[in-house]
Symmetry: C2
Subunit: 273 residues, 2 copies
């Protein structure tokens, strides 16, 4: 059983219903003390107000979403991405986030060269990492499910993310999201390899059938992922942080009363995570 | 450029429009000399008639689809799957197929234990393989994209399929379908490792966006896969067989004039494969 005091909710889970202010107050109302924040919602709220709200409600920020999107069709586009990642580091610092999560980006433009996109990702992270190190902001590469390899992230396994960590060094770690990695036959071994480089642990569930590649994630317990088993591996690797619920669900959870969503996150994380 | 004399079409590509008889005649009419056959269409046609049609039109059968689906909720269900795979071997022999393709199956019943499902797959293949060997019918494990891990196939990478080949020995190989494996950072290395164990090479394309997990595959050239590069790796590994177009496309290619589909397969495989 997951420790309910370590529950965080990624505000994407209620993004259709709540602003950042509403999410902070709403999660806190149900005694949830962790939140992952999205940059657009943060900008909308304003830095000073967001910081005050988080402090007043005793919320930990388990991550800022998101940096990344490094590949570009020309050097100017790639430099713009690096600059944006530096701004994301600043925002993560401003909000007191425990890490900046990276969704690294997919194939730029009309490219079919995934090997080259992966090199661009490596180069992009290498270029922004010194800035993050100087700001003492840990950077978490989030490997995304292979079905997003073309358009969202060409880092698709834990092994690949950890190879980047090995190559690029301190300040870099991984975000383990069960949705993206549950299928990987290497998962247990790669989580052990990650060790203390696990900077975040995200939970939700894989529905059968899955009706949409992006917006049909399931609530814990409604799908096929053995979340508790994966949590056990993550904890065995030394992870002691929050477990963060992140559910993109256009046709279900985004249409429900957000207080019901939060209550369900709590109950299901106790039962299934 | 792919050699057009080595083009095969998997009859799934025109399954909404054509019976097996129509597909054999239709493909041959456009001088395509390879076909992959589905068991339901084969049964509908009848063994003797199918064999005669294939012979009369000089068609090579690049694969029978499909065996597999090994995991089951109890021993009786798993034995039924093994028995069905033996029948599939008989059918593959009857039709002169170059291999029997396996879609190995996913999580049985309400199981969340993908490790156990993978063991059941190994045990199922081990149980049917002696029968296939005796019949001299090569068996091709087809790793399926990780998005099918729950409901179709829990063998999701070339590396995993080749581990099974290493363990279970002669008579077993792999089917490389670019749709399933194009994203894999290990792909080039695993194709080289496969060597002559590559029994089939399937082509189509990954569309951006992909609107349906199962039935929205693209025609070569309409997506992001560098098919020619992967074909080069497969040929460097020693593969000299056909390249087989397999497109599940409920909303596009299955709604078109099948002669147009065949002509497009030919033109696009020359240009993009």
């Amino acid at each position: 059983m997951a420790d309910p005091r370590k529950l965080s909710i990624n505000q994407a889970t209620t993004r259709a219903q709540w602003s950042l202010e509403q999410a902070i107050k709403g999660y806190a109302r149900h005694d949830v003390r962790g939140i992952a924040v999205w940059r657009d919602k943060f900008a909308e709220c304003g830095k000073a107000k967001a910081a005050a709200l988080l402090k007043d409600h005793g919320m930990r920020v388990t991550g800022l979403c998101r940096g990344g999107m490094f590949p570009g069709t020309d050097p100017a586009q790639r430099q713009a991405a690096i600059d944006d990642n530096k701004r994301a580091v600043d925002e993560a610092v401003a909000i007191g986030a425990e890490c900046l999560a990276l969704v690294v980006g997919g194939l730029p433009g009309a490219s079919k060269n995934i090997g080259d996109a992966r090199k661009q990702v490596r180069d992009g992270i290498a270029a922004m990492l010194p800035y993050a190190r100087a700001a003492k902001m840990p950077v978490a590469i989030e490997p995304l499910h292979p079905m997003y390899a073309a358009d969202r992230a060409c880092v698709n396994t834990m092994g690949q993310a950890l190879d980047l960590c090995d190559e690029l060094g301190p300040g870099l770690g991984v975000a383990v999201d069960v949705y993206h990695v549950w299928w990987d036959p290497e998962l247990e071994r790669q989580i052990a390899r990650a060790g203390r480089r696990i900077l975040a642990f995200h939970i939700c569930d894989w529905l059968v059938p899955t009706r949409d590649l992006l917006l049909d994630r399931g609530m814990m317990g409604d799908g096929v992922i053995d979340i508790a088993k994966i949590r056990g591996w993550v904890e065995a690797a030394g992870y002691r942080g929050f477990h963060e619920v992140e559910i993109f669900s256009a046709e279900n959870w985004w249409k429900r009363d957000p207080d019901e969503v939060v209550k369900t996150c709590i109950a299901r994380s106790i039962e299934f995570a």
